[in-house]
């Protein structure tokens, strides 16, 4: 399902990446930004405090809108002078017409969605391309934790089993299977650990998965 050419294209960051990266930008956000064209019209779902949006605005001159539910995050986005819409992700997506955005981003939120399939379908509807990132549940430390009899708790999944918002954890392979079933064509994949691509045993050694897809 994956096109190796794309994978190679992704794991090298673009040679023309001249912009000094904000040191605080989360690792997946850097990868996401690399997949966004200059001047693109972007929707960032669950945009949080607006870090990615601010970065895209400055480094890509992108026209970016965020959707976010939390009051505090909205305020932070306003303080950064960003465009942000307070809504839950589902109604936040429903309000937009088809193919309204060049890219729709869902960063580290997929695993907390109740209606996972619906959200992915909607992303493919309102955007020409979608980008998702999520923690890799298949990371070896998580497996080790399970072998030791405990649910995994890690920096990318810092919750106890009883208070986690993560209801739909998955592995990269799981995601690829679902994408195939939903008719989404994966056009890019980056499996990362500590911000660097993992080439050897990525299924076990990567902590974060970032995918780019398009409707077929």
């Amino acid at each position: 399902m994956l096109m190796t050419a794309d994978t190679r294209d992704l794991s090298n960051s673009s040679p023309a990446a001249p912009v000094a990266r904000a040191p605080t930008l989360r690792d997946d956000l850097r990868q996401i930004a690399d997949w966004i064209a200059d001047g693109a019209h972007v929707l960032d779902l669950g945009c949080g405090d607006g870090s990615l949006m601010a970065y895209l605005r400055e480094s890509r001159a992108a026209r970016v809108y965020g959707v976010e539910i939390a009051d505090d995050s909205i305020l932070q986005c306003v303080r950064r002078g960003l465009s942000v819409i307070q809504a839950d992700l589902e109604s936040g997506l429903r309000m937009f017409p088809d193919r309204m955005f060049d890219t729709v981003v869902l960063s580290q939120t997929l695993q907390a969605m109740h209606e996972t399939e619906a959200v992915l379908r909607e992303m493919a509807r309102v955007g020409r391309q979608g980008i998702v990132s999520f923690p890799n549940f298949g990371h070896w430390r998580h497996l080790a934790s399970l072998i030791g009899g405990r649910m995994p708790v890690s920096p990318q999944m810092p919750y106890q089993w009883y208070d986690t918002p993560n209801v739909h954890l998955c592995t990269p392979k799981d995601f690829e299977i679902l994408a195939g079933r939903l008719g989404l064509m994966i056009t890019g994949r980056a499996l990362l650990a500590n911000g660097e691509p993992v080439n050897v045993l990525p299924g076990l050694r990567s902590k974060l998965a970032v995918y780019r897809f398009e409707p077929k």
Binding site: I74, C77, V78, L82, S83, I85
Partner: protein, 378 residues
């Protein structure tokens, strides 16, 4: 820093002799606008903020009057030194709209053509007419472009209209508790209120001034109806529930329930100071507001001329202008590629929440105006 009141303020008046062409085709040949200002206009003349009022308010946005210290401006918690719209940085203008009853030319004013009060003959005015009149006031004050135009409810409609009619003259539109058009239910409530006024025997078809009477009972009912729509079901339940003022049912029709007593009191108070013809005019302006109308209902096209940045705020329990209505505007703005912030504030108070001092709401407005101030360096 402590936030405070702008202190004592003095209303001013500006006379306009060039006729104003109205949406109806009528014209007002000679009129006056009452206004107040707070803070000072900077040398660049770019730090002005216009505040537009809703149904029953006026140019008295902030501060108090030396001779009537109990009359506090209707948005005093929003406008003042250190308040969300900070008068140490912005020059804020409140203006009373045409057709109102607080000093600007309206039905109570003398019609120069007849020498008698306009009464029923005062032309029906629209949100767009108000905005045109406000633009003339801005011209006379030497303000080419507002840093922001802001309002709640009907005031927010004026702010939105500014972005369409004078896109080059408005930097930001701050629209609180807005709808792009009234629903059938909204119009229905307005019509019941107007019916109450028009069926009052003291109304005399709108020409009651000469008779020395006021259609108070009609106004009172109109206000009671309006007031119900400003509050949420929950807010009313919490405030009044089914509490009785009498020890038990009195088996009559007096104000036995607390809610009845409250509404009657509000109605009485209102009928003492508000003008019935103005009530008809302003509710009609609400009914007619529909910028998408000339585009077959397409709000995206209607808002296409807008260049401003937008802050839109709705309140979750506002059933009069519900959050979904505001979202229609947000969607159209995003489609047009405009900068927009939309916040849906969880507040129990219904439509009236826009006037109340809610921390999340005020922090957001303050942050938005802080950005504007930084943009302008004021």
């Amino acid at each position: 820093m402590r936030s405070g009141s702008v202190g004592f303020v003095t209303p001013q008046s500006m006379r306009f002799e060039e006729p104003l062409e109205l949406a109806s085709g009528a014209r007002i040949v000679d009129y006056e606008l009452c206004y107040e200002t707070y803070g000072s206009l900077n040398a660049e003349r770019d730090n002005a903020v216009l505040i537009c009022h809703a149904l029953n308010a006026s140019h008295h946005v902030a501060g108090r009057y030396a001779d009537h210290p109990e009359q506090i401006g209707w948005w005093d918690n929003m406008v003042g030194p250190g308040r969300p719209v900070d008068t140490r940085r912005f020059f804020v203008i409140g203006v009373n709209n045409l057709g109102s009853c607080f000093g600007s030319t309206g039905p109570m004013s003398t019609n120069p053509a007849t020498g008698r009060p306009y009464g029923a003959s005062f032309p029906v005015v629209t949100v767009e007419d108000w905005v045109d009149a406000q633009a003339r006031l801005a011209d006379r004050l030497g303000i080419r472009r507002f840093a922001a135009v802001m309002g709640g409810s009907l005031g927010a409609m004026q702010a939105l209209s500014w972005t369409i009619r004078y896109p080059e003259r408005i930097g930001h539109c701050v629209a609180i508790a807005i709808t792009p058009r009234l629903s059938a239910q909204n119009i229905a409530f307005n019509d019941v209120a107007r019916a109450a006024i028009r069926s009052d025997p003291d109304f005399h078809g709108g020409d009651y001034y000469a008779k020395g009477v006021v259609p108070k009972s009609g106004l009172r009912v109109a206000r009671m109806i309006g007031h119900i729509t400003y509050l949420s079901d929950d807010a009313m339940a919490e405030k009044f529930g089914r509490s009785l003022r009498t020890p038990d049912y009195a088996f009559g029709f007096g104000a036995e329930f607390e809610v009845e007593s409250y509404l009657r009191y509000q109605g009485d108070k209102f009928s003492e100071y508000f003008d019935a013809n103005t009530y008809l005019l302003i509710t009609r302006a609400l009914d007619y507001f529909d910028p998408a109308r000339e585009y077959g209902g397409d709000l995206v096209q209607a808002l296409a001329p807008a260049l401003a940045g937008f802050l839109l705020v709705s309140f979750t329990t506002d059933w009069r202008f519900a959050p979904a209505r505001t979202r229609e505007i947000v969607e159209a703005l995003v489609v047009n590629g405009r900068e927009v912030v939309y916040a849906a504030i969880e507040a129990p108070h219904g439509h009236d929440a826009f006037l109340l001092d809610d921390g999340r709401y005020h922090r957001l407005v303050a942050a938005y105006f802080e950005n504007i101030a930084q943009e302008l360096g004021c």
